[in-house]
Subunit: 161 residues, 2 copies
């Protein structure tokens, strides 16, 4: 009398279908490296994806800290809506949304004190942008280099380490 | 006949009353040097006057850019109401108002990554503060040095000058 042998214990071995190695070949279209296009030709879709990462506030605005790229001076703080950010990321010039005038404000169009974009970083919770720029002339409408030159809040200093 | 000799020409010499050296003595109360009081004892009125210069937004908040005082790295952007600013200006440690948790948040109380105040400047229209600090450890809750390290918005660069 022959008994059917019991089902074997599951075996870890060659029976386990191995995960195939990715095959490089003409049939498999390789994932293209991200291409930095010519700087005057922004690719629209990726820009929208980057803008979509921004957590605009209830007024549709995000704070943008403007920093001189080489001296690291903090020059000013401005505000951008999605369109101002879109222009800033694609035009090489910084554009703000003016809350007081309720209009777009490309920095330097009237004063000549333009800001040429050098870099842009979004912070960890998406609600602040650090823009590094080449500032032409004074950043502040008062004529000072930065908007933080005039008013010292004279804090008590913390201890030295 | 004897003539009275003419008055002698003014002579520079011992006759010229010398300006007396300042005498240190109990009778002459010296003009006191400005005294920096103990850092834990802020003078209330001037602090309130400084806080009154701030243009808090409709939520009662002001943006505070935090910058490492010596390397000039921009570390993060936080928000303060009048009380958080009062504590920051008088305690030597940075305190924010946490919008997500709706509570005061003295940076580093749980993480140890404290921010020791080195300077505080108000901008030209009063609605942004630049705080220079000595940052202990990483500034970002993700463990990176700054909150702007992770997300590159890859802008088109403006032209070189």
């Amino acid at each position: 009398m022959t008994e059917t042998p019991p089902d074997p214990e599951p075996v870890e071995g060659p029976e386990t279908t191995p995960v195939p190695e990715p095959v490089e070949g003409p049939e498999t279209p390789p994932v293209p490296e991200p291409v930095e296009g010519p700087e005057t030709t922004p690719v629209p879709e990726p820009v929208e994806g980057r803008i979509a990462r921004v957590a605009f506030n209830s007024d549709g605005l995000v704070a943008a800290i403007i920093q001189q790229w080489d001296t690291h001076e903090v020059l000013m703080l401005g505000w951008m809506d999605a369109e101002a950010l879109r222009r800033t990321l694609t035009e090489g010039r910084v554009t703000f949304w003016s809350r007081s005038r309720q209009e777009y404000w490309r920095k330097g169009d009237t004063s000549g004190h333009i800001q040429l974009v050098r870099g842009a970083r979004l912070d960890c919770d998406g609600d602040a942008i650090l823009l590094t720029v080449e500032q032409v002339g004074p950043a502040c409408h008062t004529g000072t280099r930065t908007c933080f030159d005039a008013d010292d809040l004279e804090p008590v200093r913390g201890p030295e380490l």
